[in-house]
Symmetry: C2
Subunit: 530 residues, 2 copies
């Protein structure tokens, strides 16, 4: 299966422009073949147009057709076999086991959305029957359900080449909801994206769907990205990456003549609060779990624990000693690409110089920059300094964390109150801590999308109850999640139908409830026909 290195627009892999770029194997800092053609502005325009034309047809597909499509994509991704795994490993330096696991998560997500739309109740069908005799005015028949927005622009994420990229969560939720997709591949893994696009292309053919249902754009040029965000045919955007890039996309979308929703998932420091009882009970075990979470995937998870908060005590000293020992012993790892490594070293160097911050531990094995390596770091700061200096609350993307030492539980609560919006917040407790931590939990809960107990934030479960989101700057829209079946709600809007003829209603809103879905009829949930 050769890589053609081209953009894929309405099924045609033939676009050309004068410029090319290429992927790099970060473990050796060497070029990977082939060259990939940079999309031109004309290509970006064509891709958005192709998605708009496909939408006119794709939006009318049945839930069963869409489910079959999602399942076909999953099957075709699996059929790519080792070629996909090897290319993703080569482009990202993520371990083979991790990539294999991520492939399973990706196909699992596609199948979870397929199951969700086959069941069908997610569309929030509501029927309020007419009351022709009502005084002073008769009540009309009003019915509503969720309908797709249109072509969705999905940005691939560098740190999840499969699960948050080509056929990842945003693509799956967009397609499940009835939208078409323009995929802007992340330039660090263009080959992985092209392989997944091959799988998608086969699924499109198998299912007889319009060729422009999913389109692939390859580019390192932020101007091409912006052209896609501001294209009139694009109706929503999903993005996972840095605060700078995510905010730029948000700003471009908000400045459009017709603004569109943007779901940018950006920086998060994922604070971990350790209550005194928990420290007394298991300081060493928490330190082990913490460093494992910190160094997993070279710290390149959105949910990486960047801050630990606890009250000064002998037990905290024990935690610090164990965590320092483990950080020192942690082998440096290869990061996703050189730009991320350089940025990590810059952030860590800046952090080390900040007033009141002291370095506690660093990996003793030197990181080899030529192999794009980075080593773990641990810092320490007093709570009063942390509260006073907002720079300390910015994400350092990579295996670095800061232990914030408090004088009291009240100071821990003050730390929770000053932390900006986060994907996650964690509290470690013993049974004896439960009463004391209620205020902390209440405060922290207002700043996060997910509040978790006695665990670590990395490892995001894909399930109906998951929220992978949170207040700004964790995301640009806290009313949504990018993980779990709840993500289907981001690319849809409610539409009402008043006094509509049965035959012109969407099937889900007709009197006979053919699909057997849950519907809110006159305010009460039922599966009954009307």
């Amino acid at each position: 299966m050769d890589l053609h290195g081209k953009n894929v627009i309405a099924g045609v892999a033939g676009s050309t422009s004068g410029k090319t770029f290429h992927a790099i194997d970060p473990t050796t800092a060497t070029k990977l073949t082939p060259d990939f053609e940079e999309a031109s502005f004309a290509d970006a325009d064509k891709a958005a147009q192709a998605a708009a034309e496909a939408f006119a047809i794709y939006r009318r597909t049945t839930p069963q057709q869409r489910a079959a499509f999602l399942e076909a994509i999953a099957t075709e991704i699996e059929a790519l076999g080792d070629i996909l795994i090897k290319r993703a490993v080569a482009e990202t330096a993520l371990p083979e086991a991790r990539i294999t696991g991520e492939r399973g998560r990706t196909t699992g997500q596609l199948r979870a959305f397929a199951a969700l739309i086959k069941e069908g109740s997610w569309i929030d069908a509501r029927i309020d029957r007419a009351m022709p005799e009502r005084k002073p005015l008769p009540r009309p028949d009003v019915r509503r359900m969720l309908m797709p927005l249109g072509p969705v622009l999905v940005y691939g994420a560098s740190n999840f080449p499969l699960a948050f990229s080509a056929a990842g969560g945003d693509t799956a939720s967009a397609l499940a909801g009835g939208n078409t997709v323009v995929l802007k591949a992340h330039p660090a893994h263009p080959g992985t994206s092209e392989l997944v696009m091959q799988a998608v292309t086969k699924a499109i053919a198998t299912c007889g769907l319009p060729k422009g249902t999913v389109n692939l754009i390859q580019s390192v040029d932020t101007k091409v990205s912006t052209a896609l965000v501001t294209h009139p045919a694009i109706t929503a955007v999903g993005f996972t990456g840095s605060l700078g890039a995510g905010r730029a996309i948000y700003n471009a979308a908000a400045a459009r003549p017709l603004p569109i929703p943007v779901f940018s998932e950006m920086g998060s420091i994922n604070p971990v609060f350790i209550m005194p009882g928990a420290l007394s009970e298991r300081a060493v075990a928490i330190a082990e779990g913490f460093v494992g979470s910190l160094t997993m995937g070279v710290g390149q998870f959105c949910t990486n624990p960047g801050v630990v908060v606890a009250v000064a005590s002998k037990e905290l000293d024990l935690f610090l000693a164990k965590a320092s020992e483990l950080v020192a012993a942690a082998a440096p790892g290869t990061m996703l690409y050189e730009g991320i490594r350089r940025r990590y070293e810059e952030c860590v160097a800046t952090l080390a110089k900040r007033q009141g911050v002291s370095a506690v531990a660093a990996a003793t094995t030197a990181a080899d920059a030529k192999r794009t390596q980075a080593g773990a770091r641990l810092f320490r700061v007093d709570a009063s300094t942390f509260i006073a200096d907002e720079n300390l609350r910015e994400e350092v993307f990579g295996p670095s964390s800061v232990v914030v030492v408090c004088k009291s539980l009240a100071e821990m609560e003050a730390v929770a109150a000053c932390i900006p919006g986060q994907l996650t917040g964690t509290i470690h407790t013993a049974a004896s801590d439960l009463n004391a931590c209620a205020n902390l939990a209440e405060t922290l809960g207002q700043h996060v999308g997910r509040l978790l107990w006695n665990g670590f934030p990395t490892g995001v479960e894909v399930c109906p109850a998951m929220v992978h989101g949170g207040p700004y700057p964790a995301t640009t829209d806290s009313r949504s999640t990018s993980v779990g079946t709840g993500a289907i709600l981001r690319f849809v809007r409610p539409v009402s139908f008043q006094n509509a003829p049965q035959e012109l209603l969407p099937e889900q809103l007709r009197n006979v409830n053919a699909a057997g879905i849950w519907r809110l009829v006159d305010g009460a949930l039922t599966k009954d026909a009307v």
Copy 2:
């Protein structure tokens, strides 16, 4: 019950600034007493702070407490009696029967939200139970529900002094969801807003809630408005008004260091498509219904039918003749305030001069500008001109409409395709039209929040299935509604709790389902305990 003319911040009606403004009775263009104090920037800041302080307590109230509060507001509004009706009539020139009806709608909305939160299932509770034995990794316990955002800024609307103002839809949905409110009263009806605020203040006292749960800001200064939008404590905005003002608020919110959601409901021309069979069957009856909808409330509804679309025919001539006769006979009415009247006359004059537009009818009784009156107008244009000139697709707020004459059904569909986002779209059909109008319905449905058949868009039912929203420029966020119980979803966000101790979970997510609400447990809806 005297009006004090002051802002109300944390229950204190004592703010002062150097400036005042006053309401005007539009029927006589004379000043109404008392003077109202302009809020200063310091007052705006204090109001936002008061709402933030109140939120820390109000967010912890139970659904029962919030429901009792909403019901108490409704009761206190009714207890205001004729004073409220008379003041609202004096400030808006809306007829007493209309204001009385609007009061009923307002108290009905408050009670509908109370019933919704007492029932409780709206929070979309989801529980995915732990699977400790799952391989390769155990599944954690994950639960989620919708939680309030924080202080919400609600702008009063000029055309609905009760239902979209002080204790109107946005205030009711914000409070029902657990948010506190800063109410920016519309300067055309400050007395009405103050009276309703008196009712709210009594309800706050009766229910023992924080005094800053709802705060009232009176101002004619757009800079004070902008200061509220950009205040760090404000977490969301609801607005109903012009495209210019709504977009300005959206832009200010998007430019904040921490952007917030804005639900601006703005312009809408609410096209009415009449199919040939419907024209043949009942051209005169449709004309009667149309002119009734057009002139109701001097055309000052967001859902006013500003465009009629049909194929040229003898039957259309009959419709035009009848509609012209009725428009000519319609008595001029007093508009809400002088600024709206002036703008209406300007828009109508501009429209009359546009290439290809011809005036068909105008109210024969002259409108008296000194009584802030406006008369109905009817224009006509060919579809090709309408499609070519986007200026013709802008809202004219008031009793003016344009009949777009098409050569064919295909041209009607082309008109539907070129129309920007709308609150509503209407199709009139006879039984013989149903097959022919499927494409039109499909196209129109993509541009509107509500698609209605054989009726007129004015008169928005308050019910669970209602969508009063739509793609831009109808609103800045098509994923929401401002009318009906679905509006509660605009000021909330999902939060997940992972492996949380039972006693620290919100009551709705605990194993025992004490409130007996519907919950999605392991993917299936149930009222059972876990």
